[in-house]
């Protein structure tokens, strides 16, 4: 992150886009603090807060003990009393340690007290497979959050979105859960600070197409794009929809896309049963079913914990090869 003050980056990593977003927001708003395990001296387990300690000091970049429940609870307490914390849970898998504070406190504090108060904060967490991190460090738990009213949920795929969604979330007074895929940090793309290219809650068509909608989010959008490339060669024109936020969910874009293409594949790294794709699939069927030429397909991780062995882990989640295969079947 050599030059912090540019407005346009031709090629920046997802990690650095996040760091810039935090940095730029912190410069503008003194109420923003960062807290979490190893966010300061270590710079974040995945480096998303690297060097921020030097820039903002230990009063604003706070290493916490390994106490996930209290991290969330203390962040909420700070949010209720005038600060705007960006808290980090190193892995979404640690939702388990803090789910009471997330779902019973943070999500409900406004409602229970009749709208007296907001808890404006972001809880960043990192998820997904791909590093042989095993069953307790590879989950995709966005469903738990999406099923919890009161929490906004952002799950970006590109550096530009990572930047702008984070900044946008800091301007919204709702608590927002912000999920980053562990394999995205090193991916790179354009960042245009002046082009948010979205409103919080709006999906993005990554590629227009007319034969099939692949609807996804986070790293799986990349798989969708790659499959679309391959399918293009085989004359199947895929539309790739990147949801970007799961709450609010941009139902309109999903419905519009599928009403146009008449076929849909919902792609996600979460487990199959009762996951986010079940919701998307339901919405599509409910609203497009007279137009659909084929049933909607949910392609997800298996209904098992994540295995460590790389050869198993690879096939535990969707593969590009099979996205292509299923897409072809859908378009037959």
């Amino acid at each position: 992150m050599s030059d912090l003050n540019k407005n346009y980056y031709e090629k920046i990593t997802f990690r650095d886009a996040l760091r810039l977003a935090i940095h730029d927001s912190m410069q503008k708003d003194e109420k923003i603090i960062v807290m979490g395990e190893d966010v300061a001296a270590y710079g974040g387990a995945y480096g998303a807060t690297k060097d921020l300690l030097k820039l903002f000091g230990p009063k604003r970049i706070i290493d916490t003990p390994i106490s996930e429940a209290a991290i969330v609870g203390a962040s909420m307490g700070a949010a209720l009393t005038g600060l705007r914390p960006i808290a980090e849970l190193m892995y979404v898998d640690f939702f388990g340690m803090s789910m009471d504070q997330i779902a019973n406190q943070l999500a409900k504090v406004r409602y229970m007290f009749g709208g007296q108060i907001n808890a404006p904060m972001i809880l960043r967490a990192q998820g997904g497979t791909g590093r042989s991190a095993g069953a307790q460090h590879s989950q995709s738990l966005e469903t738990w959050i999406m099923h919890t009213p009161g929490l906004y949920l952002s799950i970006p795929y590109t550096p530009n979105d990572a930047y702008h969604l984070l900044r946008a979330a800091l301007k919204i007074n709702n608590p927002t859960i912000f999920i980053e895929h562990k394999l995205l940090y090193n991916t790179s793309g354009v960042l245009d600070k002046n082009n948010p290219d979205q409103i919080f809650g709006k999906a993005k068509i990554r590629k227009k197409g007319k034969d099939l909608s692949i609807i996804s989010y986070s790293r799986m959008v990349n798989f969708a794009e790659k499959a679309a490339e391959e399918l293009a060669k085989q004359k199947i024109d895929v539309e790739v929809v990147d949801l970007r936020t799961l709450n609010p969910l941009d139902r309109e874009t999903i419905i519009e896309s599928v009403n146009k293409t008449k076929r849909a594949l919902v792609l996600s790294e979460s487990c199959y049963t009762a996951g986010v794709p079940s919701e998307i699939t339901s919405i599509i069927f409910e609203h497009c079913y007279t137009n659909l030429l084929k049933p909607v397909i949910r392609y997800t991780a298996e209904d098992t914990p994540a295995p460590v062995a790389p050869n198993l882990e690879e096939n535990y989640i969707p593969t590009i090869e099979k996205i292509v295969e299923y897409s072809k079947k859908l378009c037959k």
Binding site: I33, K59, I62, T64, P65, S67, A69, A70, V72, G73, A74, S75, M76, G77, A78, A79, L80, T81, G82, L83, P85, D100, Q101, N104, Q105, V109, R110, Y111, M112, F113, G114, G115, Q116, I117, N118, P120, P149, G150, Y152, I172, N173, N174, P248, E286, H287
Partner: protein
């Protein structure tokens, strides 16, 4: 009032207001006017909230557990709005959406009552962090029961408060029971101050009925917290009645109850006032009557408060600048249309 250099009349009045309020909640329940049965009364436990409430300053903040009406009243809560909340009515503090277990007035620094045992504790760590960061001179106090002494979140929170030297106090209202489980069957060692001290907190154990002394000691702990030495206070007391309105306490003996109810902080305080000629019987009676009227009015207010509008199901989930959640009805009608 015969003497002015004593806080006893004020402390007595607060305790009596708490007790009378709780009694009226019980009546409201019998009248069938409460929202549900999950009403946790603090009758017999008035000393702790009262002395801490007095020792706190105007700007200070706090969270409470499910048995938290007492400290809310001690910190200036309006009995009318509280009672209306307990009745689940529109004029309640939370529009009737929170009820007895989720009652708060953020303007009074009440950051929320909590129905999760231990759930409100880390909030004060964050409030302490804000106070220190923003240099606001606010102490934040978490109130919780002896049951919460067995919740891990308490230790995570005590450690953070100690590590970061926050203006925070943890206050355990030890009424000897968590529902039907006696503290002896819940805690390996009952010396809770020892636990708190092992995390680096200043500690105070209150186990008698002398509220003036308790006030002075609590104030010391709170004042130290204001200087960034976090503290822990345990107040021993007894839950005079059942856990919630439906509980007849079959798990403990009547003898125990009769004996323990003799440790009544309110009669103790009034006896003290009489003995030391701070007030006479008439004066005390007058206070009591005033309180009685106040609380009757609160009860009436609650009964007469209107129900809330159905659309309120959907408000307050998100910040008001954000769209309301779509109702299921709207969703279904759209699909069926």
């Amino acid at each position: 009032m015969t003497q002015s250099n004593t806080l006893l009349p004020n402390l007595y009045t607060t305790m009596k207001r708490i007790r009378t309020f709780e009694e009226r909640v019980g009546e409201l329940f019998i009248k069938g006017e409460t929202a549900g049965t999950m009403l946790h009364l603090s009758i017999g436990e008035e000393l702790g909230p009262t002395c801490l409430g007095a020792a706190m300053q105007k700007q200070d903040t706090f969270t409470t557990h499910h048995r938290g009406h007492g400290i809310f009243i001690a910190r200036g809560g309006d009995p009318k709005k509280m009672m209306a909340e307990i009745a689940g009515k529109k004029d309640g503090y939370c529009k009737g959406k929170g009820g007895s277990m989720h009652i708060a007035d953020m303007k009074l620094g009440h950051l929320g009552a909590n129905a999760i045992v231990g759930g409100g504790i880390p909030t004060v760590v964050g409030a302490g962090l804000s106070s220190k960061y923003l240099e606001e001179d606010k102490v934040s106090v978490a109130f919780f029961g002896d049951g919460a002494m067995q919740q891990g979140i308490l230790y995570e929170s005590m450690n953070m408060a100690s590590l970061w030297k926050l203006p925070v106090v943890f206050c355990c209202i030890n009424n000897q029971y968590g529902m039907g489980t006696k503290i002896d069957n819940a805690a390996g060692l009952k010396d809770f101050s020892k636990r708190a001290a092992s995390f680096g907190l200043n500690t105070l154990h209150i186990d008698d009925l002398d509220i003036e002394n308790a006030y002075v000691k609590s104030k010391e702990i709170i004042d130290k917290a204001r200087k960034f030495e976090p503290g822990f206070i345990e107040v021993e007391c007894y839950r005079f009645f059942g856990h919630a309105r439906m509980d007849k306490s079959p798990y403990r003996s009547e003898e125990e109850e009769i004996k323990m109810r003799k440790s009544d902080p309110i009669s103790y305080a009034s006896n003290q006032m009489l003995k030391n000629k701070i007030m006479n019987e008439d004066e005390i009676k007058k206070i009591n009557e005033k309180i009685s009227i106040e609380m009757d009015e609160a009860m009436d207010f609650a009964i007469n408060s209107p129900l809330n509008n159905q659309k309120e199901i959907f408000t307050d989930v998100y910040d008001e600048r954000e769209p309301l959640p779509i109702s299921v009805e709207e969703r279904i009608n759209k699909i069926l249309s």
